[in-house]
C-alpha cells in the first residue's frame, strides 16, 4: 500500500538554494523518510551532494535519514559552508 500523500514544507540553504532556484517550496509527496525525500528532491533539482555531506532538520531540530515524515512537517536540507 503506498504511503499516504503528505504536504511538506521544504527549505533550502546555501548551494541548495542556488541549485533548487528557491528558498522554500511546499510539496506533495508519498515519501516516507527524510532519505526518500532527499533522493526525490535531489533528482528533481540536481542537488548533487551525497547525503553523508548533508544535514537534515525536521521542524528545527537535526534528525536522521530514517526519520519518518508526517503531513505538515518542515524539512530543511543543510549543506556545509566554508567561506570566510
Amino acid at each position: 500500500m503506498p504511503s499516504p500523500n503528505k504536504k511538506i514544507l521544504v527549505s533550502y540553504f546555501a548551494l541548495f538554494r542556488e541549485r533548487a532556484g528557491r528558498s522554500e517550496e511546499t510539496i506533495q509527496t508519498h515519501c516516507e523518510t527524510t532519505a526518500d525525500l532527499y533522493r526525490e528532491l535531489s533528482e528533481r533539482h540536481a542537488l548533487k551532494l551525497a547525503s553523508d555531506r548533508v544535514k537534515v532538520a525536521l521542524n528545527a531540530e537535526f534528525t536522521t535519514w530514517n526519520a519518518r515524515l508526517r503531513d505538515g512537517d518542515h524539512v530543511v536540507f543543510i549543506p556545509p559552508v566554508a567561506g570566510g
Partner: protein, 505 residues
C-alpha cells in the same frame, strides 16, 4: 646603526635627518628638545644628562618599534644626549619620515612623549647660584604640557555600563586570550570588536597577503597595502584601534604541525577561515586540548555559526555535525561563488559577540545547535542537535585519528627538487603560466598543469609517485590532500613551494 642611540657628541639635526630620509616619503616631522636657561623659576647655565645606557637603549628601541606599528611608519629615529650640555644645545632629537604628514606628526609626538616618560635618563641642573639638582626628566615637564600630552587611556564606559559587563566583566575581558584564525571577511570584524572591547591578548593567524579582491569585505585594509601580509596589516590596524591590547602576530597558515602549540596558548579559538581543512583541524585540536572554538562560515547571502565548549555535557564540536572531513571545493568559497561584504561582516560580528558573551559568561549563548542566518530574507534559525549526537566525541575522535593518519603525516616533503626525478617522482607544477615564467623550475623534468587536468590524468594510474609544486606550498598542499582523499597514496607537496633558485639548503 640602530635607530635609537645615546650620544656624547653634540647632535646635529640636519645630519640625523638623513637617516630617515627616503624618496617614498612625502612628509617629515622632527622634534628637538633644547637646553633652556631656567627651570622652576631659577636661572641655570648648564646641565648634565646621565643614563642607564643598556636599559635606555632597549627601551628606546621599543618605543620606536611601537611607533612603527601604531602609526604604520618605517622611518623613525631618535638620539638623546648624555654628558655635559650648554644652554641652547640639542638634548634630544626625534625624526619621522612618512608617506603623509598626519602619521609623521603623530609618531613624532608619540616617540618624544614616551622617551621622556619611560627612559632611565636623569638630568642634573647647574644653577647660577652654584648649586645643583637632579631632575627627573618626566617630572621636569611642566604641568600644562604634561596634561596635554597625557595619553588618553582606553575608555570602556559604554560597555561597562551594561549589567552584563561592569567592572568585573571588563577585568575578565582584559585577562582573556583569544586566537583569531584568518584575518579575512570574518576575521576583520572579529578582530575589530574584540580589540575594541579590550580583550587583553589577541593572536592573529593568517598566511595570506592582501589582494585587491579582498577589499570589498575586508574593510580595515587599504588599497595601497595590496601584496602585504594580512596578519601584519591587521595587527597594525588593531594596534591603533586599541593600544592596550597585546597582539601576537602569526603570519602563517594554521597547519597540523603548528596548530597544537598555537592553540594551546589561547583559551578561545575563533575560526574565521575559508576552508574545511583548517576548520576540521581547529575543531580536532580544540577537542584534544580542551579549548573553546567559535566557528562561522559564509555562502553568498547566508552563514552558519556554531560554538564548541569542550567538557560541557552537550558540547558540539564541528565533527558532531559533519563527522568526516569535507574536501575543500565541495561547496564554494567566497572566491568562487561570491558574497557581498556585509554578509561576512555580520557573521563575523555574531562571532565576535558570541566570543564576548563566552568571556563575560553572559546569557543567551549558543548551545548544542547550529545557527543559520539568511541575509537575503533576514531570517535566522537555531537548529538544535539532539543530545545523543553530541557530548562524548568518541566517534569524532576516531574520525579525526583516522583522517590525520592517512592525510597529514607525510603529505609535505622538503626533498631537494633536483633529486625528485631520481627518486621516481613525476614533478607537476601547479602554478599559472605567468608565475612559471617569472620563476622557472629548472634542474628537474616537470610538467605544468591545473589540478583538474591532473585529476583527469591521475585516474589512469593510482600508484604513480607525484610531487606537486606551487609558489608557496599552499595550493600544492591542498591539491595533494585532495588527491590523497580520492585514493592516490603517493602524492606529495613540496613544503614552502618553489621560490626560485636552488632548493638545496
Amino acid at each position: 646603526m640602530s635607530a635609537f642611540r645615546l650620544s656624547v657628541a653634540p647632535i646635529v639635526p640636519q645630519l640625523e635627518a638623513r637617516q630617515v630620509a627616503g624618496s617614498d616619503c612625502g612628509g617629515f616631522a622632527s622634534f628637538e628638545g633644547w637646553v633652556r636657561n631656567h627651570n622652576d623659576g631659577r636661572a641655570s647655565n648648564r646641565l648634565e644628562y646621565e643614563a642607564f645606557a643598556e636599559l635606555a637603549a632597549t627601551e628606546g628601541e621599543k618605543v620606536l618599534e611601537e611607533a612603527r606599528r601604531k602609526f604604520g611608519v618605517d622611518r623613525v629615529a631618535c638620539v638623546h644626549r648624555v654628558g655635559a650640555l650648554e644652554v641652547g644645545d640639542v638634548a634630544v632629537w626625534v625624526g619621522v619620515a612618512a608617506a603623509h604628514r598626519a602619521e609623521a606628526f603623530a609618531a613624532c609626538r608619540y616617540i618624544i612623549d614616551e622617551v621622556k616618560h619611560r627612559l632611565p635618563i636623569w638630568k642634573k641642573e647647574h644653577y647660577q647660584e652654584g648649586d645643583t639638582a637632579w631632575v627627573n626628566c618626566e617630572a621636569d615637564s611642566d604641568p600644562v604640557s604634561a596634561s596635554e600630552v597625557a595619553k588618553p587611556a582606553s575608555d570602556y564606559s559604554r560597555q561597562t555600563a551594561l549589567a552584563e559587563v561592569g567592572v568585573l566583566g571588563q577585568a575578565r575581558l582584559r585577562s582573556a586570550r583569544v586566537l583569531v584564525v584568518g584575518a579575512g571577511g570574518l576575521g576583520v570584524p572579529v578582530l575589530s570588536y574584540l580589540a575594541g572591547a579590550g580583550v587583553g591578548t589577541i593572536g592573529i593567524v593568517d598566511g595570506d597577503v592582501l589582494e585587491a579582491s579582498n577589499l570589498h569585505r575586508q574593510t580595515i585594509y587599504s588599497f595601497a597595502d595590496v601584496g602585504k601580509p594580512k596578519a601584519e596589516l591587521a595587527a597594525r590596524h588593531i594596534g591603533r584601534l586599541n593600544p592596550e591590547v597585546q597582539l601576537e602576530v602569526h603570519p602563517m597558515r594554521l597547519t597540523p604541525e603548528s596548530a597544537r602549540s598555537l592553540i594551546e596558548a589561547y583559551e578561545i579559538i575563533v575560526d574565521c577561515t575559508d576552508n574545511f581543512t583548517t576548520t576540521f583541524l581547529i575543531s580536532d585540536v580544540a577537542l584534544e586540548l580542551d579549548r573553546i572554538a567559535v566557528f562561522a562560515s559564509v555562502y553568498q547571502f547566508e552563514g552558519q555559526v556554531q560554538v564548541f565548549r569542550p567538557g560541557q555535557p552537550d558540547s558540539l564540536c564541528y565533527r558532531c555535525i559533519w563527522p568526516t572531513q569535507i574536501p575543500d571545493g565541495t561547496v564554494g568559497t567566497c572566491d568562487l561563488v561570491g558574497t557581498l561584504g556585509p554578509v561576512p561582516g555580520i557573521l563575523g560580528s555574531i562571532q565576535a559577540l558570541e566570543t564576548l558573551k563566552i568571556i563575560l559568561d553572559a546569557p543567551g549563548q549558543l548551545g548544542a545547535e547550529l545557527l543559520l542566518v539568511d541575509l537575503m530574507n533576514y531570517t535566522q534559525t537555531r537548529f538544535l542537535v539532539p543530545p545523543e549526537a553530541s557530548g562524548q566525541h568518541k566517534t569524532c575522535r576516531a574520525h579525526a585519528r583516522a583522517e590525520v593518519d592517512v592525510r597529514f603525516l607525510d603529505l609535505e616533503t622538503t626533498m631537494a627538487l633536483e633529486s625528485a626525478g631520481d627518486q621516481g617522482f613525476d614533478v607537476v607544477d601547479l602554478r599559472t603560466e605567468s608565475e612559471a615564467t617569472a620563476k622557472p623550475l629548472h634542474g628537474v623534468a616537470h610538467r605544468r598543469m591545473s589540478v583538474e587536468e591532473l585529476l583527469l590524468e591521475a585516474e589512469q594510474s593510482q600508484d604513480r609517485k607525484i610531487l606537486l609544486v606551487c609558489s608557496r606550498g599552499v595550493r600544492s598542499r591542498q591539491a595533494a590532500l585532495r588527491l590523497r582523499e580520492l585514493g592516490f597514496p603517493a602524492v606529495y607537496s613540496l613544503a614552502g613551494g618553489w621560490r626560485g633558485g636552488s632548493t638545496a639548503a
